[in-house]
Structures are given as C-alpha cells and as structure tokens.
C-alpha cells in the first residue's frame, strides 16, 4: 500500500517513536496505539519464517499505516485481531504476492501491536480464518473486485 501525502489519512500517519531497538521499530499509530514493525518480518535473513515478509517497497511507516487503516476502519475479527487488504491495483503486502495483512491483538496492556502479510492458499495457509463479513465489507467499499472477493471467500488469497 502506498499513501500519498495529500490523502485524507496523511495527517493521521504513524509517528516513529525512536531508533530501531529490541528487534524492531516502534511507532504510535494514528489511533494512538503502539505498533512495532518487527525485523523478523522485514527480511529473509531476520526470520525462520521466510514466507511472511513485508514487501521491501513498503516502508516500515507504510506497514504501520496499513495497521492504521485496519484500526480506524475496525477491520477486526471476533478475537480482536485486525486485518487489512491491499486495494486492487496497489502493491502486494508480501513477497509472495500476499494481499492481506494480519495484526495480532496485544496480549497485555501497553504491549505493541505487530503484523505481517498472510495468505490463505496452500503452501502459505495462515491458520486464522479471514472473516467472510470483512471480505464483504472490503468488496462493498470498493477496495476489492468481485474476483478478489470470490478468491478470498474460497481461501484462494
């Protein structure tokens, strides 16, 4: 996802809270939540899970902003975790053409959120279920086409 400076959300961009430390970069999201961009999801060398790496063309700030979109739009599942989708025509979130991102709800107060690109297809299948209702909302709001909606409903994403 790319965010142009004149977009309505530009004023709500994430704010970096300091230099890289403890395996990531900490931000304050546009919803005032702490968000940590983890090193292990930024490069192949930083993780033993090479299938879940953010697209290198998507900066850490953009990664946090992807979380912001999910947070502000309340794209959450029944467990409180957040999901985001790459709008049709915009760049993939992940290195294996993942177009959905998942953000774990922090277990403890004050812990930061973190997230990574996910897919439902075989070979990369993420075990959390992408809710049908979210897919429908993304379709209704014009973020994804009918084809993408059907791919997602069938687990082909």
């Amino acid at each position: 996802m790319t965010v142009s400076d004149d977009s309505p959300s530009a004023a709500r961009r994430c704010r970096q809270l300091g230099p890289p430390r403890d395996g990531g970069v900490l931000f304050e999201s546009c919803g005032n939540s702490p968000y940590k961009s983890l090193d292990v999801h930024r490069s192949q060398s930083g993780t033993k899970q090479p299938k879940s790496i953010w697209n290198s063309e998507l900066s850490r700030a953009d990664e946090c902003h992807t979380f912001c979109e999910a947070e502000l739009n309340e794209w959450s599942d029944e467990n409180g975790n957040c999901w985001a989708v790459a709008k049709d025509g915009e760049m993939d979130f992940g290195t294996h053409e993942e177009r959905v991102a998942f953000f774990w709800e922090p277990q403890n107060d004050g812990d930061p959120w973190h997230g990574f690109p996910v897919a439902g297809r075989r070979g990369l299948a993420f075990r959390q279920k992408l809710p049908d209702a979210l897919i429908e909302r993304w379709y209704e709001s014009g973020l994804i086409s009918f084809s993408r909606k059907m791919q997602m409903l069938k687990g082909r994403w």
């Binding site: 297809r121 070979g123 279920k129 049908d132 009918f146 084809s147 791919q151 687990g155």
Partner: protein
Amino acid sequence: MCAKLYMMRLDLPGLWSDGWLYKEHLILWSRDGHMYILPVDHITRQLRGLERPPHEVLADFLIFRNDWKASEQFERLFSLQGIEESFTANFPKATGEIVIPIDEATPIPIGSDRIPGEILDSAIYDNRVYVGSTHGLFETRFDPDSPIARNPLIDRMPQRVSAVTAGFSAINGSAGESGLWFSRMNRDDETWWDARSNFKRVADYSRGNSFADVNLLNYTDEAFPGFLRSETVKERPQDASVRESRQITGYRQQADIGTLMTSALTSSRTTGHGDPDFSLGIDDEGPEVLGNSGKRLLVAWKDSLRVIDLSLHRDRDLAAKADKSYQGIAALEIDPYAILDTHAFGKSFLVELSREVQLIHPHGSFTLISEPVARIRTFARSRRYREVVLLVRETGVSLLGMYVA
C-alpha cells in the same frame, strides 16, 4: 520446451457467479444466486453467423465436442504429415489465440429459488445439481430434456461448504472445521425432495476435496492431503446414465500420505531426473501438495514444482512415484507459493495465480488469461468437456478450449 499453445476463447457478457457445461447446456448462476441456462447451440449458431466456418469447426474440436479431440481417431489423423499444421494455420500466427464475443445469445432464467449466501462451489452429476455456499449445501435438479423446468431447491446441510465434488454416485462436501461430509447420491427421481439428508462426517476438518480416481483427497491445513480409500460396489451402467460402473458406498478412515510422498520425492532424487535442485535436503523446507489432477499431485518443494503420481490397485497398498512426463517442471518459472489454487485439466493442471491463470502441461506452462478471475471451472470428469475451461470474470464468462502443438 518449444511447444505452442493454440487457444479459442468465447466471451459471454454478464455478471455471473458460477457456471457449468453440462450435456448440451451452459448453466450459469447470477451473483444473486439465480440459475440460468443457455443451450450450446445458441452459441454455435452465432459462430455460424460469423461466416467463418473454420471457427465453428475449431469450436467443436476445442470446446463443444472436446471428446473428439481426445479420441484415438483425432490422434491418428494428426499423426499424418501436414494435418496439425493445417489445423493450427487457422489461428493468428502472433498470438495463437482466437477470441470471439458471444453477445447474441441470452441465457434463460429458470424460475427456481435462488441459492442463499455466496456460491462457493458447485457440482453437476447425473442431472443432480449440488451447490455449496456460505449458507450451506443445496441440491436441485436439472433435466436436459426440460431445461427450463422449475425444480425445488433443498437445503442438505447448514454448514458453510467451500468445496463440493460429485462422482461415482457420491457427493462430498468440505465444511472447514465442521469436517468433510459424504453422502450417497439420492437415486430417487420422483419425490427426491422428500428424501432425508444422509450426510456422514468422514473427516474432522476439510478445506477442499478432490477425486483421485475413485478415491478422495481431503485438503486441510497440513502439508499433505488426507487419503480416503473408497469402498465401492459395481452396478450395471445404463445407456442414458452418466454414472460410472462403480458406486462409492463409503470411505475408510483417512490415511496420511506424507511419508509416502516424501519418500517418492527423495527417491526421485537418487534415481535422478536431471534436476540439480534435488541435491537440496528435504528437511530444510518440507514439500507441500498444492492440488491434484486425478492421481497426479502437484507438489511445491524448494521453491519449485514437482508432480508425483499416486497409484492404488485393488487390494494393494498405495504407491507414489515421480511422474516422468513432468521431468522438466522444476525448471518452470512459477513461484509455487504464488499459486492460489489448482484444477484438474485432462492430464495437466490449471493453476490460478493472483493475476493470471496458467496451464501446466508436460510440454511447458502457458498463460491462458492475464487477470484475476472469480472462478475457474474445469470438467475433468466429463466425457464431452474434459479439456474445456470456464472462467467467471468481472463482467462475463469465458469458455476456453486449447491445443498444445
């Protein structure tokens, strides 16, 4: 590999959700779940009207009488010098692709009830229509002799059913965490709607299922699908029936084929199929089955693809070995982890990627269409449409037939 793909594509406009080619009809579902039919001769009539007789002939061989192309007669004829060249000369040299908009044929609505929820999968078999949706599994009927007759729509299962297969007089439905469900086909043609649903759960979890000959593969979140060996009885086939001579009466307990598959991959390394990648250790990143085309399994391993064949002869153990006709597949430039789905297509595979659909054939891979599609339907179990593809696209449905030379 220097094979070339020749393809004919017929484009029908409309906002569709799903479709099937069944006997002499194209069956379509609109996005609000209503069923429509279009007799195939309404389409061929327009091809005739184009005053380009070769296109009508090509459409017969590649799409509407696809069984001709698969016949021994066709194969023998094409072994004669110059026949294949004459056939392929009817395609544009640069693209090898003929695209014809079919805008004069209008699908006819059937007055049946709409499918509740979003249609996720469907199967038509022996005039029975099964549709899995976000709201359950539904059954209706389609009589090719009375195609627009209204039939009841019966709710067979309340669970979200993402994959439906029908064959050998059996129906299988994948309902995620609710499991894999199986039922023998209801043979009653009179008051079939009154029959009670008798689906049985045969596995605890199922994301998808697919026939491997008469047996079933159950796709879960694991690297390898579960293998369900069928129990069958024989029946005398009736002339008018599409039913096979064997009927599935049930499945044995789901078996793990992981060890077998891993062994087939590693043994092919030792026997050697000219593939340098086999020198990599299997434990570094395990193989994963992406899908199957009958008994051929498409496997992702070490960032490339492999094809492993399963074989099961009556009263013998299941066996697996690398498919020799796909020795060159590891060299294909396809990221296995970008494959969204796999479909059986004759002896080949159709793979869906995020922005295109490709044919993986023993002679190479070929792009069929370069856009995301809502649905890919192949008819691997059909006699007549075995190598035909139906694509549901943003603003229409396309029928694709092809020839690899």
